[in-house]
Amino acid sequence: MHNFTPWSALLGGALIGLSASLLLLLNGRTAGISGIVAGVLNPRGGEFTWRLLFVVGLLLGGVGYSVAVGQSFQFDLERSGTAIGIAGLLVGFGSQLGNGCTSGHGVCGMSSLRVRSVVHVCTFIATGALTVYLVRLLGGVL
């Protein structure tokens, strides 16, 4: 299999799962990133500050990782600004419409054995796969 990285995937995944469990145990909140970001953009009910700090943490985690491996994140992303902008809009809007994303539904929702989350995840993987297929048909650069 091309580019298969099972051990870093499992380790990274375990840390993600651990983080979600810690957020639940300590803060009593769901680690759904789309919801956390939305709560920073549209603050309500005393939930702003912890969410802001969590987002800052996500950034700092990226910095820490980059320092540890000795280089910043590299992207060989063959996408124009327009494509990236549309992608971001769809991810932002879609996450709100569907009440979650890969962390909210994928990790937390599926760990709660919610059929709703399984349906959500299967759907976005399917449309994601279709999108990748179509982009490749169009030459892989958009």
């Binding site: 145990l25 803060n27 919801g35 910095v63 809009l89 890969t102 962390s103």
Partner: protein
């Protein structure tokens, strides 16, 4: 909120903020190690009809293995450690909204190769692609909030 809950929340307010920061850092490190911050890994995972890379399935698997087993134990408690109550999503239906949201999210993920968490973690690189993606993502979130307020009059979105 009762005065007892107020007092509890006030006592824990610094601790829950510090824990949010620390957990965010851990989450970001996990995302970086897992490969979720690399669009090429996402495209490889979604490339079922081509050169399939199953790595991200193991990311999800690893995350669920840890979270599913611990979640039940955690929710047996009457409250979390640094707050007076748990706040987890209530029961919502499997409806057109859910499906439409998932469809759009999937197209965006398949197009851009990152989702919300990884885009913020990768933002630390300062790369214009991530700045643009995160900006557009915030735009999409705000667009949703505006349209639902105008159209349905409710707040909508995630809690």
């Amino acid at each position: 909120m009762s005065t007892k809950a107020d007092a509890t929340a006030a006592r824990f307010s610094v601790k829950r903020l510090v824990s949010a920061l620390g957990i965010g850092i851990l989450f970001g490190i996990g995302l970086a190690i897992s490969g979720m911050t690399q669009p090429s890994k996402v495209f490889g995972f979604l490339d079922f009809f081509g050169d399939w890379d199953a790595s991200l399935a193991l990311v999800m698997g690893g995350a669920i293995a840890v979270h599913l087993t611990t979640r039940r134990l955690i929710l047996r408690r009457s409250e979390p450690i640094f707050d007076s109550s748990f706040r987890v999503a209530g029961r919502l239906p499997i409806d057109g909204r859910l499906l439409a949201g998932a469809v759009l999210f999937g197209i965006g993920w398949g197009l851009g190769g990152v989702c919300p968490g990884p885009s913020i973690t990768a933002l630390s690189s300062g790369a214009w692609q991530m700045l643009l993606f995160v900006g557009a993502m915030c735009g999409g979130i705000l667009l949703f909030q505006v349209t639902t307020k105008l159209w349905l009059g409710d707040g909508g979105g995630t809690t």
